[in-house]
């Protein structure tokens, strides 16, 4: 026992506590734990509101880590994840790699072009081989909807969906929600308008689910050929003319025209698309002063948005990218932290 300081030891009389301490009140901070119900992040569909808020709240603390002089914490030291990307991506792979390295988590990048997939190796074989090398998590992007779900049933590692076909892209939705919450405080009761190719967009599906679960009222707008016929079942309004709804919303969420996923021609020409559904310089000027603009990137400048949006003070496109790293850190931390067996 060490006697510290100088002078006589301070005496405190010891009093019997009138009532025994309840078991729940001791060391409260050590008992405050979080747990997602699933050990994978496959889609926003599987998350409830409180889980989404848990991820977003944790992301805020990781956002602060990114501003430190040394923006690296040892939280996931010794863990390794793999970026298993079967589709092209710069933003998402880089973002996940950075998120992992900021947590001291190893990260291996896999791209389809240089892999044995070109020799005919199946998805499951590729994943099992990589897992056999000792990775804790697999971050997968695949053109087939459900590929991450399939993988999650066959590997021990945790699986993060980084985009599966036109199905879901949960981390994009989470980072959009994070960015909007930072800007607007809360999404409760806010009107969010998603503009563009709803049918082919996994971002649209994940965002729609995420924003609705956070209490926002979501509306979609686009050419009839790009809006799924049963979209109302998600509880959102549908508009076919942008100018009718644009001045009634708090958030404009522009979507990318996904030329690689559009098989038949969904609209006559790019110029016509821009005229009807593009966020043009003119529409930008007429936006109400509090409206914010988001876009998941990469932007087709001159198609869904004019380049003027890049200079627009209420465009959140770059903050979205920065916040993406923090949100992905939170996701990796929540999924990779703790022992695998206990979470199953």
């Amino acid at each position: 026992m060490v006697q510290c300081g100088h002078g006589p030891r301070f005496r405190v009389h010891e009093v019997r506590s009138p009532e025994p301490a309840k078991s729940g009140v001791q060391n409260p901070e050590s008992r405050v734990k979080v747990k997602l119900r699933s050990r994978h992040l496959l889609g926003i569909e599987d998350l409830d509101r409180s889980e989404i808020l848990t991820i977003l709240d944790q992301a805020r603390t990781f956002r602060e880590v990114l501003d430190r002089p040394i923006p690296i914490v040892p939280a996931l030291r010794g863990r390794t994840v793999v970026n298993l990307f079967f589709e092209a991506s710069t933003r998402t792979t880089t973002s996940f790699s950075l998120a992992a390295s900021r947590l001291s988590c190893g990260c291996v990048n896999f791209s389809k072009a240089t892999s044995a997939v070109s020799k005919g190796e199946t998805l499951l074989d590729t994943a099992r081989n990589i897992e056999a090398m000792g990775v804790d998590g697999i971050i997968i992007r695949h053109a087939s909807p459900g590929a991450p779900h399939f993988l999650s049933r066959h590997v021990k590692a945790f699986v993060v969906n980084a985009g599966d076909g036109a199905h879901e892209h949960p981390t994009q939705a989470l980072l959009d929600a994070f960015t909007l919450r930072e800007k607007l405080g809360s999404l409760d009761g806010k009107r969010v308008l998603m503009v563009g190719d709803i049918t082919h967009s996994r971002v649209a599906r994940s965002n729609l689910l995420c924003f609705s679960k956070l209490g926002a009222r979501v509306a979609v707008c686009g050419p009839p050929t790009m809006i799924p016929p049963d979209i109302e079942q998600y509880g959102c309004e549908v508009f076919y003319r942008l100018d009718r709804i644009l001045d009634e919303v708090d958030v404009v969420n522009m979507l990318r025209v996904q030329q690689e996923r559009i098989t038949s021609s969904s609209f006559p020409t790019v110029r016509e698309y821009r005229a009807f559904y593009g966020l043009t310089a003119e529409r930008l000027r007429n936006l109400a002063p509090e409206v914010v603009v988001t876009h998941p990137g990469p932007v087709n400048w001159g198609v869904e948005m004019d380049f003027d949006v890049a200079e627009f003070s209420r465009a959140l496109v770059l903050p979205q990218v920065t916040n993406g790293v923090a949100v992905r850190m939170a996701v990796l931390f929540l999924l990779a932290g703790g022992e695998g067996e206990v979470r199953s």
Binding site: M1, V2, Q3, C4, G5, H6, R9, F10, V12, H13, E14, V15, R16, S17, P20, A21, V25, Q26, N27, P28, E29, S30, V32, K33, V34, K35, D57, Q58, R60, T61, F62, E64, V65, R68, P69, I70, I72, V73, P74, A75, L76, R77, G78, R79, L103, F333, L334, G337, G338, E339, V342, R343
Partner: protein, 186 residues
Amino acid sequence: MTRRLADAKAVSALVARLASQINRHNRNVKDLALVGIKRRGVPLAERLAARLNAGRRARIPVGAIDITLYRDDLQMAAETPIVRGSEITFDINGRTLVLVDDVVFTGRTIRAALSELLDFGRPKAIQLAALVDRGHRELPIQPDFAAKVIKTRRSDLVDIFLKETDGRDEIVITKTGRAKKLEARC
């Protein structure tokens, strides 16, 4: 069995004592700053700063540090602890820092806090102040200032409640070892 070691009045006296220890040791230190370890080290650091500011011209900045991401048992925990975030808004380079926590026990929290602080910069010196030192260190770490040193068993729980976080000022010790023995007898 739970016993109260200090009531509100005694806690306040302990804080005063800790402040005077820090003050005596750092009387001529210019760039002093306090960093509280979340959660209860933070209100404690605020209270100490309020007392230390009384005899000084410049206000002493207070930061808060959350050590969760630096814990050495992070990967053994069954569930993921909530990370509350650190807030150090001043430059710690060249400063003398006093790290403040409510209880010093194994020393592992302090180890984590030191690692994290050094990622914020290179302070001139770091001192450690705790309201209670309850022994049972597992690392070679000792407080420079402790208002109260108490003998405990390893299995005892020492809880410090502060108005800011818990609505009351109180220090309580719970003997869990004996409770378990009693249970076994029943």
